[in-house]
Structure formats: structure tokens, C-alpha cells
């Protein structure tokens, strides 16, 4: 880590803050048009106008939107993410309950999907244009061509209902053995892999092929280096940048894009928390979730760029 990298991180941090601000404004603007508000929503179908008015006053919803936004922003600056209006818990606490779950699922999925994608991508890059390549590219395509919820439901039907090998639900607090972990996480991880592996594998393939076309790879071949060694020792280290980027994009999907999987497997993650928040018009929570997704996305992309820098001595030693 040197001053240049530090400067990069600082700059990104600044840009990230701006991006977050834009996100919060966009989210606020859209949610401002949402019909009904937290008071209406929490009192339900048969609420009387007096009740709604009283609750609105209590929650401060009677203030103009801009004022509420600024208020929220001020509080955020002091580290207070606000309170969830639907159940009066601090937003931070609600999030803290869900974030580990999301990270767990994302982590497990990443552990499976990233190596798989790398193997698929590198495999097809090595056999570029050949039968293996066509085959793998077809498989990865087919994997992504089936709607997520169908994969998930089908998988549950086969592995949980008919075979009874795996669990149809994924939230278990009492995981004691690795086998149990496997039983619980296998299905959602499998479903998510289907969604993200293809993209990563394709980008890996492209990045590796990009390097395989470079003069230094030709040079390595002319030194008598074997194809496998060329890919692993020469091309791959230089392809880390774009691959890390593809991985970062896919992993950011694992945080916010998994609402379907969370629903089907009844997994309490951040995505379903946000769906709840939208339904309950729980603005502080919606904002916090969006901020988190956005921050995670930016962090992942930054991490990918740092990977690219660290894997590249030219950038590393600048």
C-alpha cells in the first residue's frame, strides 16, 4: 500500500459519498411518491382517519418531505440511522440482525461459485473454439436462462421434498455440524450459483483469452512453457483485474438481488428486510438498506480495483 493507492482509496471514498447521497435522494424521491405512508400502512385497512393523523404526528410524517430528508441526513451524519416506524426498533439493530445472514449466504455462495466460475472460464478459454468451450458456454447459458424462482422451486421439489436429502428452508440457528450446514445451505447456494456463475465464467473466459492473445504469452510459448502453465502462471495473474471486477459485480448481486431466493427459502436477509420496509413505508429502513447495497457495491468495486492494482506490479509500485 502506498500513497498512490491511498489517494485512490480516498478519491473513491469521496466519490462514494457523493454516490450515496444521490442514491438517498433518488430513493427518497421515489418513495415520496409512494401512495400511503407509514402511518396508514401500520394501521392497516380499517384505520380511522383520526388514528392515522395521530400516528402521523407522532412519527413526524406531517412535516414536508424535504425537511424529513434533511432531518434524516443530519441524524445519519451523527451515526443515527433512525428508528423503524413499523416496530419501533432502531434501524441499526434490525440491520445487524440480518447482515450476518446475508453475508453468510453470500459467503457460502461465493465460496462455491467463484472457483466454479474460474474453472469453467479458464477451461473454456484454454480450449477456445473447441468442443469443450462450446459445451461449457452452452451450459453456462442454459444455467442463466431459467428463471431463478423456477430453479429454486424445482430444486426444492427434487432434493427436499422427493429425495429428502436437503432442507427446504435455509434459516437454521442450530447448525452444529458441517453436514447440517450443507443440508441447510445447499439449495439456496445452488440456486444462486446458477444465477451468477455464468456471468463470471464468461468474463473470466474473456479476460483470460485477452491475455492469451498478448505478446508475452506468445513469448512464453516460444520459451517452451506448457499450455497449462501459461494459463495459470502467465495469463491468470494478469487477468485478475477484469476477473475481480466481474466477481465484484456478481457478489454485489448476492447482497441485494437475492430477494427471490430469500423468499423461497425463507431466509432472513437484507433483501427481504428491504421488501418489508417498502411495504411498510418504513423510510428510514428503506434508506438504510439502499445505502448498504450501494456502499457494498462501491466497496466491492473498489476492492476489485485494489486487486487489480496489487496484482499488477506496475500499479503496485507506482
Amino acid at each position: 500500500m502506498n500513497s498512490h493507492t491511498l489517494w485512490l482509496i480516498c478519491r473513491r471514498f469521496g466519490a462514494g459519498v457523493v454516490t450515496l447521497l444521490i442514491v438517498s435522494m433518488v430513493v427518497f424521491a421515489i418513495t415520496a411518491v409512494l401512495p400511503g405512508d407509514a402511518a396508514q400502512q401500520s394501521l392497516g385497512q380499517f384505520a380511522t382517519p383520526e388514528q392515522v393523523a395521530a400516528l402521523r404526528l407522532k412519527l413526524g410524517l406531517d412535516q414536508p418531505g424535504v425537511l424529513r430528508y434533511l432531518h434524516w441526513l443530519m441524524n445519519l451524519l451523527t451515526g443515527d440511522m433512525g428508528q423503524s416506524v413499523s416496530n419501533a426498533m432502531p434501524v441499526g439493530e434490525l440491520m445487524a440482525g440480518r447482515v450476518p445472514n446475508t453475508l453468510m449466504l453470500a459467503g457460502a455462495t461465493a465460496l462455491v461459485s467463484v472457483p466454479l466460475a474460474l474453472i469453467l472460464g479458464i477451461g473454456s478459454a484454454m480450449g477456445r473454439g473447441g468442443r469443450i468451450d462450446s459445451c461449457l458456454s452452452f451450459i453456462t447459458l442454459a444455467m442463466v436462462a431459467v428463471p431463478e424462482f423456477l430453479v429454486a422451486t424445482l430444486a426444492v421439489l427434487i432434493f427436499a421434498v422427493n429425495l429428502g436429502w436437503l432442507s427446504a428452508l435455509s434459516y437454521a440457528t442450530d447448525i452444529t455440524s458441517p453436514l447440517q450446514f450443507l443440508r441447510t445451505y445447499a439449495l439456496p447456494v445452488m440456486t444462486l450459483c446458477c444465477v451468477i456463475v455464468a456471468q463470471m465464467a464468461r468474463m473470466t473466459r474473456a479476460a483470460v483469452i485477452d491475455q492469451l492473445d498478448s505478446p508475452y504469452v506468445e513469448m512464453a510459448r516460444l520459451k517452451g512453457v506448457s499450455p497449462i502453465r501459461i494459463v495459470l502462471r502467465h495469463a491468470l495473474p494478469n487477468a485478475i483485474g477484469p476477473i475481480a471486477n466481474a466477481i465484484a459485480l456478481s457478489l454485489s448481486y448476492l447482497l441485494g438481488g437475492v430477494v427471490i431466493v430469500e423468499t423461497i427459502f425463507n431466509y432472513p436477509g437484507i433483501a427481504s428486510l428491504m421488501v418489508d420496509a417498502v411495504t411498510n413505508r418504513d423510510m428510514a429502513l428503506v434508506q438504510a438498506c439502499t445505502m448498504l447495497f450501494c456502499a457494498a457495491y462501491l466497496a466491492l468495486v473498489l476492492l476489485a480495483d485494489l486487486c487489480a492494482i496489487l496484482s499488477n506490479p506496475r500499479l503496485r509500485n507506482q
Binding site: L8, I30, E148, N245, G257
Partner: protein
């Protein structure tokens, strides 16, 4: 910021995009055929449908193949063939329109940001970053809650979700082209920004932009099917292919045609489009490599 890093991400993805390819031509042919078939279905399907799309024609739900109902019946006892024929128009049509618009706006913003002063470029980039970081399904959910579910809204949502991606690819390409000497020549000739963007830069990035458009089409087909899970989609009795899968999911355990057919339809559509794109981009790669 180091220019190498600043550019490495989009440039590499654009490059990668161009190189995500290389399948033999027969696969491309298969892709092209599938795409043409689906296009025809989308154009003429509704007229070929033997039954009105919402009519319950059988007391039996999740029927299998029969001469009267080649694709069986759905969860209410409606003719699946008719529903798929009509549904294809929605899926293909919506995705196509959304993909075209997303590419149009994405590319437009990219061109704008490339010929604009740095501060405007920065603002556009930040806004795009902001939108790309909001998960598309969440955005869809909020949008539908706010504005109700309609075809226009579905398109809007898909467009907003995919503009940033299109923007990124287009911008990285445009930045590279902008640095080329013929653009510099045009600038030193005193050409306006509009001319530089539309006449000098745009024609040269059209091919990758079209490739990107195809990829986005595939993504949008899948996004729409994902949105059907969240209860968003075209208005009944019509249904896009994703909604058809979703509404008939109860027939999954009995392997009903009502779920297999639309799932296959989505599969063939996305795979077909991808194969075609791969083929086209690999051909383009070879062509430009030949010189």
C-alpha cells in the same frame, strides 16, 4: 486518479464483451433461427392463438398434451398454446423495447459525458453508479408500489435498471474512441460537440453497442420473469412468459406442460439471443483482426 485504473474497469469489460465469443458458426445459426422464430411468434402469435387468452376451456387444470390443447391447460383450465403465443409477444416486445431504450439512453449519456466537461461527466457517472447500485428488483418493487403495474412502468423500470450498464459499456468505448486521432482532427477542425458525438464517435461504437443491446435483451427477459415473482407484470388475462411460469408453478410437481412450455420458451429465447450475439461478435472480432 491514475488513468490506467480509471479506465481499466470499463475498458476491460468492453474488451471482454467483445471477446466473450468464439463459438462455431453452426451454433450462431441455431441462435439466429431461434431468434427469428421467436420474432415471428411475437409478431403473429396472437393471431394464431386458437382460443381467447383468458377463456377457461377445460375443467381439468394442468392437462397434458392433447390434440385439442397441444400445450395442455393452465391452472385455471385455459389453453396454454394460446397463452404462450400471446405471452411471447409481451416478453419479446417488452424486452426489445426496454433493451432498445436502455441502450439508446445509456449510449446517449455516454456520448454526452465523453464530449462534456469533466464535471458533467463526473456527475453523470455518479448518477449512473447510484442507479447501478440499487438492485433492479428492489427498484422494480418500489416503482410498482409507487406508480402501479403497467406495461409502460415495466418498461420504465427495466430501462432505468439497465441504462447504467449500457452507459458503462458505451462510455468505456466512447472514451477510447474519443482519444483516437480522427476525433482529435474533427475537434481541431472546429466541429461542434454534437457532430463529434454523433458522426465521429457513434458510428464506430455501434457494433459493440448492438452486442450489448443483445445481452441486455437477455437480461431483461430474465428480469421480467423475476418481477413476475414479485407479482409485477403485464395485466391479466395476458401474461408474459415469466408470469406464465410463475402462475403455473403449482403444476411443477406433476411436471405439467403449463410450466415446462413457458420455461422452455424463456430458455430458448435467452439462449438463442446469446448464441446469435456470440456469433456476431466473434465474427466482428475476426473481421477487425484481419486488417
Amino acid at each position: 486518479m491514475n488513468p490506467l485504473i480509471a479506465k481499466s474497469r470499463p475498458a476491460s469489460s468492453a474488451l471482454a464483451l467483445a471477446k466473450v465469443s468464439g463459438n462455431p458458426s453452426w451454433l450462431g445459426l441455431v441462435g439466429a433461427t431461434v431468434c427469428v422464430i421467436w420474432l415471428l411468434v411475437a409478431l403473429f402469435g396472437p393471431w394464431l392463438a386458437p382460443h381467447p387468452v383468458g377463456e377457461v376451456i377445460s375443467d381439468n387444470i394442468f392437462e397434458g398434451f392433447s390434440l385439442a390443447h397441444p400445450f395442455g391447460t393452465d391452472y385455471l383450465g385455459r389453453d396454454m398454446l394460446s397463452r404462450v403465443l400471446v405471452g411471447a409477444r409481451f416478453t419479446v416486445g417488452l424486452s426489445l423495447v426496454a433493451a432498445l431504450l436502455a441502450s439508446f439512453f445509456g449510449t446517449g449519456c455516454a456520448l454526452l459525458s465523453v464530449v462534456s466537461p469533466k464535471w458533467l461527466d463526473e456527475i453523470i457517472s455518479r448518477i449512473m453508479d447510484a442507479f447501478i447500485s440499487i438492485p433492479s428488483k428492489m427498484l422494480a418493487l418500489i416503482m410498482v408500489s409507487a406508480f402501479g403495474s403497467s406495461v409502460t412502468l415495466l418498461i420504465c423500470t427495466a430501462v432505468i435498471s439497465y441504462i447504467p450498464g449500457s452507459f458503462r459499456v458505451a462510455r468505456s468505448m466512447a472514451v477510447n474512441i474519443e482519444a483516437l486521432e480522427y476525433v482529435q482532427v474533427a475537434r481541431t477542425r472546429g466541429e461542434g460537440k454534437l457532430y463529434v458525438a454523433c458522426r465521429e464517435i457513434l458510428p464506430n461504437m455501434l457494433n459493440p453497442v448492438l452486442t450489448d443491446l443483445g445481452l441486455r435483451f437477455g437480461y431483461i427477459v430474465l428480469l421480467l420473469s423475476g418481477m413476475s415473482f414479485l407479482g409485477l407484470g403485464v395485466q391479466p388475462p395476458d401474461a408474459d412468459l415469466g408470469s406464465l411460469v410463475r402462475e403455473n408453478i403449482g403444476g411443477l410437481n406433476q411436471g405439467a406442460m403449463a410450466i415446462i412450455i413457458p420455461a422452455l420458451a424463456i430458455g430458448t429465447l435467452t439462449i438463442g439471443v446469446n448464441l446469435l450475439i456470440d456469433y456476431l461478435s466473434s465474427r466482428r472480432g475476426r473481421r477487425s483482426g484481419g486488417h
